[in-house]
């Protein structure tokens, strides 16, 4: 069974003439223990897909299952609790609360849940992201790369079913970006995590086991463990095949 499954997912913004179809019936599955990327041109619907998959946004049609839970059967409260306990997030920016220290940010989902962190797991995650000496700093005192590593640590802290990453390297220089990708890669390889990442960065996508391509709100293609050149070629092919009238 896949860790994450979207079936005939559609998302409509607005109504009438002004309606925008962000997703038009996307069916795609993500197997557990792999590093997935979602790519596509601007407006292809990749961010919308990620938001729907992660339960941050509700699709207009179709279903999303995380593990064996269908998200459309959950009310806002239950959905929130599912995110809190079983989903990890790394965003492009605004990942951290400025008033909390790095340590407090990392354990935030557990604090919200009123649970104590498992000290062994905490040490392991913190060691993995290399932040042991920065735990009592506030986000404003950390570099962009360090902030993003704190975000990754937070995403891993609850041992989630899936970690979603939305352009995690978009705001970073290439070295920091590579470090963050390496961390996500390690989470998959060493901790058996499932990671789904939206990116438009070729090098980021090249770290992945599998790249799913979206075009115009539809599933377009996918590549297994592609090299950067393969991805370029695929994007070029999709770009050329833009339907008339667009």
């Amino acid at each position: 069974m896949p860790a994450l499954q979207a079936t005939d997912l559609s998302k409509l913004y607005g109504s009438g003439e002004a309606a925008v179809h962000a997703l038009r019936g996307v069916t795609v599955a993500f197997e557990a223990g792999r590093f997935h990327a979602i790519m596509g041109a601007s407006g292809s619907g990749k961010s919308t897909l990620l938001h729907c998959l992660a339960g941050l946004d509700r699709p207009t049609g179709g279903t999303v299952r995380i593990s064996d839970t269908a998200l459309d059967t959950l009310n806002d409260e239950k959905l929130t609790l599912l995110r809190r306990d079983h989903v990890g997030f790394v965003f492009q920016k605004f990942n951290l609360l400025p008033v909390l220290t790095a340590r407090e940010n990392i354990v935030l989902p557990l604090t919200i849940a009123g649970r104590r962190p498992d000290p062994e797991w905490f040490d392991r995650v913190v060691a993995a992201v290399g932040l042991a000496d920065r735990l009592d700093h506030r986000p404003a005192e950390l570099s962009g790369g360090q902030q993003q590593r704190v975000a990754v640590a937070r995403a891993l802290m609850t041992r989630p079913w899936v970690v979603f990453a939305d352009e995690p390297t978009g705001n970073l220089d290439s070295r920091s970006g590579a470090e963050v990708l390496g961390l996500l890669r390690d989470a998959v390889a060493q901790l058996g995590q499932t990671v789904v990442m939206v990116t438009h960065d070729l090098h980021a996508a090249a770290h992945c086991d599998r790249v799913v391509f979206l075009q115009d709100g539809r599933y377009a293609a996918e590549l297994e463990s592609p090299a950067p050149d393969d991805i370029v070629a695929m994007l070029a092919r999709l770009d050329a095949a833009v339907p008339a009238g667009r």
């Binding site: 961010s47 929130t80 995110r83 990942n95 937070r154």
Partner: protein
Amino acid sequence: MIRLTLRTARANLTRSLLSALAVVLGVAFVSGSLMFTEGLAVAMTAHATAEYRNIDVEVSQPDGVSGDWPADMLDRVRKVDGVRAAEKTWSLFNLGLSAGDGRKVIGDHRAVNVAADPRLQPIEATSGRMPGKRGEVVLDERTADREHLGAGDKLLISSFGAKSRTYTLVGLTATTKGGFDNTGALIVMTTPDMEAISGYPSTTIIVSAAPGVSNDDLAARITAAVGARALPHDQLVEEAKNAAVGNAEEFRDALLGFGVIAVCMAAFVIANTFTIVLAQRTREIALLRLVGTTRRQVFRSVVAEAAVVGAAGSVLGLAAGVLLAYGLPAALAAAGAPADVRPVISGTTVLVALAVGIGVTVLSALLPARRGTAVAPVAALSDASVQIARPVGRTRRIAGTVTFAAGLVSLAAANRAMLVIAGALLTVTGFLLLSPVLVPALIRFLRPPLAALGGATAALALLNAARNPRRIATTTNALVVGVTLIATFTLIAKSTEAPAERRAGDKMFAQFLVMDANGLGILPAGVVEALRAQPEIGAGLHPAYQSFDKDSGNEVRTGGTGGPAEGSAVVSADLGLAVGATVTVQGRRFPVSAVSPGTRTVWLSAGDMVAVFGEPFLTEIQVDPAPGVSSTDARAALDRALQAYPAVVAYDHDGYVDHLNARLNQALAVITALLSLAVIIALIGVANTLTLSVVERTRENALLRAVGLTRRQLRRTLTFEALVIALTGTLIGTAISMAITLSALRSVEAHGSRLALVIPWDRLTVLLAVAVLAALTASILPARRAVRHPIAATLAAD
């Protein structure tokens, strides 16, 4: 630039609304007070004018001259050529009034007399007729309505120190007692009746002129003929009007004092709003600067925006002020005060309201505008999403510490009222300066226990509340000032109220106290006989007398329980007499049995007082029931005996305490009501800060929701934040007011009497409950806004 300003103001409409609300309330209060008091002046002027209806000339003693009013003055005036008719008039206060069945009408009643000649009557009957012969009276409609009295009813009326007489009510008049505090009845009687009860000759004569004689001429003729002061109608009206307007202005100034406080609170709120809004607009302002707008232009644009907000607030405030001005007479009428006030909306009021509203908004926005527009153009390019709070300057820290300390020292050492006031002002000012340091420190201190109690949401709320020290300081400052004012008034009032209890205990040695209702300290002599006739209480009377020994210049009084025995005297120490010496009162010698503190006073037994003076003033009577008589029966006997004395009342211990406190409670209620406006504006400031903070933290809140904070938890976090701000302000204000009150009480103690701090928990609880409720209310809208934001869209937005 103007167009941009207007667009910005419109775009920020919701944000401006709350600060505008502060302006609205301040302006409403000020303009409402003006409209009401101008209406009051008109009503009082009308009343003053009506008093002189049908009076062409009034003859009276020149100011400052007493005595020497010839008994035949009326005859002399009547003989002056051009006088058609003339009549003596009295205006008698402190009358006792009760219905024929003995039901007492409590109030400060006034009696006037009218001539038999209708053309010399300033008052006319609106139903029934004017009194025509002795024993007939007319009453004002309002009192008659309230007491369900009508023509044909019997009334008991007494002037002070006298037994009542029975009168028949023959008509009602629309004229009221007049003056500002017109809660008593107006009683109109015939001249012979008035002459009989007044006890002193009239020194005022009203005159009606013969046809063809002008008022001015007649006045001059009378002055020349009789040597008294004679004023013509127009001048009388003019003087009365001036007095009325003067009274209304005094009342207006008192109201405006509270208006100033409210407007100051509004200034706090506005300044805070502009600081926050401009900080949030840093990027926008930097962009304007980047494309070539000068700093001066940006500054002017912000000031213009403040003027727009102020103008809108003033207009709404004026509208609210009209409602307030119309509501106030209705509220006063419900409390029994004059209802015939129609608010006046004058051009001056409108101008004042606009000037106050716009002026306060612009002035309060100046400093924030100066700081907020000092943005380097390059800031447009940087990521300024997280506001960095300006640290508190060293000068402010030092000045604050010094002022605060000086205030506390002054409070601790105060032995005079001036020092207490100075100490209070210094302490509050010092606190206002130090609050960006003190308030966050307090919240940090409270964080661990509250976090342990309230969990993650509470901890987060506390962090958020204190994240910008200046912001929370300004927000709580307004609240601290408002609460300090209210709580200080309440604490001082309640602490000085306690002695009322003690005063009653000290004074009352018997079960009942009989005294006059108007607080004049004189009872009709006949009351003693009336009480003695009642077997239930007749044997337990302790009358108190007071008189004056003309030969020695000493005051002579009855002593209480510790007073001298029959045939002996107690003297005050300053008379220089020792125990065993003798003191002479009205030629009779009494051995001195004790010496007491006091000034030129001799205490005798009640029996000796009557024996020596014949008819000394009866000031009060304490009454004990006969053995075996229940207090209910005693009370009934008292009421029976006092039925014929409308101005005499009997209290038991609790009733007397209530009587002593009644006036204080009423004053406290009025002051509390007027000050609560300041607190309400301060609480609007809390809502304002919270709303703006939520706008600022939209992304953070979305992130929290994404990583698992439920809607309910987010709402709770914001509610908690509002609670923290509101409670911090309220508690600090209460603490400061306790310090001030303690100091004030101690300074009084230094003058002899002892006062303990009484903490009125019920009232403080109400204050706290209001703050909590307001905080909860204040958090509703921001919280709704916060939870409604779609997570995905907010996080994705740049």
